[in-house]
């Protein structure tokens, strides 16, 4: 039972949270409402509350979207990005997961040192090493290829650390039991470790997806032209084109936001868990 005072505090909290979320939500609502309007209507409504109200549902309601879908390759770019995200999720879980497992459970010389180094790497921003990645990929002739794009993105010290933190607390006797059940170490990793750690796999997958979806710098370096572009690059190309109307720009931005919103609403628990578990939970 909550006391009276706790109840009152809860209400205050709810009101504050609603106010805060409205504050963050209103640009999004504005974007959504205006993405259905022609430019004239956008300018007209700018200074009134109608700026947040979508136009009437008439024949030309989806015009901006239709234009984007038919006149640009934006859908293609979105599908590209989804594909890259899928590849990077699978490879990332395997590679970072195996590394995290080794750091958590396998004894080898200087294991703690390695962990320290990987934790230090977490501090290094991607931007500072991206030139080196770029030069390397260019040298081996992988510019404008999927492999060139994916390769440097697979390893992620943060994800290694995340995996390690969760794997450290897996019971050793399960591994011993599996050994007696003729389960090889690799098989153990895939059929036991990953299924037993579903939530960290989900967390890492979500983070990887958001990373890939929102990344601009790296794809803009690797992909100079062509069909391989990601959604963010496509977005930039479309919005910086003088022929694109304001309404169309807002439609593209809305489209690129949708997957992120879906992911956040489906996996908010994993996202919070991921952030929390890196802080505490030392096995």
């Amino acid at each position: 039972m909550l006391t009276k005072k706790q109840k009152r505090n809860n209400w205050i909290l709810v009101i504050v949270l609603i106010a805060a979320s409205l504050f963050f939500l209103f640009p999004v609502l504005w974007m959504l409402a205006n993405s259905f309007k022609q430019d004239a209507a956008i300018t007209r409504d700018m200074n009134s509350i109608r700026a947040f109200v979508p136009p009437a549902l008439k024949g030309n309601f989806f015009d901006n979207y239709v234009k984007i879908l038919t006149d640009t390759s934006f859908v293609r770019y979105m599908l590209n990005t989804l594909f890259y995200a899928a590849v990077l999720i699978i490879l990332g879980v395997i590679v970072n997961g195996l590394a995290g497992y080794a750091l958590a459970k396998i004894k080898f010389p200087f294991r703690e040192r390695w962990l320290m180094i990987i934790m230090l790497l977490m501090i290094v921003p991607m931007e500072t090493i991206i030139t080196i990645h770029f030069l390397f990929i260019a040298k081996v002739g992988l510019l404008n290829t999927v492999i060139g794009y994916v390769l440097p993105m697979i390893v992620n010290p943060f994800n290694i650390f995340l995996f390690r933190q969760v794997f450290v607390s897996l019971p050793d006797d399960v591994y011993e039991a599996a050994q007696l059940d003729h389960c090889s170490p690799i098989k153990y990793f895939f059929t036991m470790v990953l299924p037993m750690s579903k939530s960290v796999v989900a967390t890492v997958s979500v983070f990887t997806f958001l990373n890939v979806w929102n990344d601009y710098l790296w794809p803009s370096l690797v992909f100079t032209s062509g069909d391989l572009l990601t959604a963010q690059i496509g977005l930039n190309a479309i919005t910086s084109n003088d022929n694109t109307t304001m309404g169309q720009k807002l439609a593209v931005i809305t489209m690129i936001t949708i997957p992120v919103i879906i992911i956040y609403s489906l996996f908010s628990k994993q996202i919070v868990e991921g952030v929390v578990s890196t802080g505490s939970k030392e096995g």
Partner: protein, 370 residues
Amino acid sequence: MSFIELKNVCKKYDKTEKNAVTNFNLAIQEKEFIAFVGPSGCGKSTTLRMIAGFEEISSGELYIDGKKMNETAPMDRGISMVFQNYALYPHMTVEKNISYGLKNMKVPADEIKKKVDWAVQILGLEEYRCRKPKNLSGGQRQRVALGRAIVKDQKVFLMDEPLSNLDAKLRVSMRNEISKLHRELGSTTIYVTHDQVEAMTMADRIVIMKDGVVQQTGEPMELYEHPCNKFVAGFIGSPQMNFYDVQVERNGITFSDGKSIALPDTVTAKLQGYDHVIMGIRGEDIKFDGQNLDVYRETRQQAVIENTEIMGNENNLYFEFGGITSVARVSKYEVSRIGDSVDFVMMPHKMHFFHPQTEEAITVQGRGGL
């Protein structure tokens, strides 16, 4: 050659000073049920894990079925194991848990099904086949762990305190189930426990350990009746054996509180050459009934009951005697209340004597030297 043989097996963990296990020697016959007992940290699990192959053997040799196993991988040693914390696969159903090993061993599907059905049936797990471990009680989980071990037809069963997480009642029933399984399957079993009752009731032979060293190996009653040192005498049996520091007299012994008891010549002969010894006597060998009081009337003693433990079938009486709080175990017909003054006798032939320094049992006549 015996089925399992440990020869001078030692274990020293990295970065530790002392051996966890020192010169472990044991020969186990096929189908034998062996229990390792001892206080916490005495090296029982370490020894078992060396047999399983989860810990490296620092020195010494391990043979299973005539083959040296020191370097063999756990899965090739022909063992199955039941773990203290069950170690079930949490994301698999009961059925999958039990069949997992068979699948990996490439057993044909119909045979797997037959085996799983059999295990599920004898362990009474039919209703739970499709449940995950987290939806099972401790006893059911332990049965799944047993099931996983028995379907694999391995010749050796290792169990590390498999019942320690269960409540007292369940422990008794699982104890019986394990004994029954052992009789039916006839696999050689090594069972680690710190519970001497489990060891006494289940094992063909018991190995008692202390600080990594085997103290005594033998059949349960042999250990109970003829403990080789004070540690074994105190470890086996409940309530604990009473130990008195006594002075050896020509025809008896004197306790530290000045009381003395005359002993028959056959007993005093054993104590020839000793000044002081430790005398041990079990609670049930201190008698309060009229008949025994009569037989041993010369050595009758008196004490005041200070505390009682009423168990129903038997009662423990605590009283101050010979410089320590002694305990006697009496039947329910010999009720005494706190504060009662009672007469009792100690059965001289049930007394155990131990060397005051080495604490080894004094058995052979006149081996003293103090």
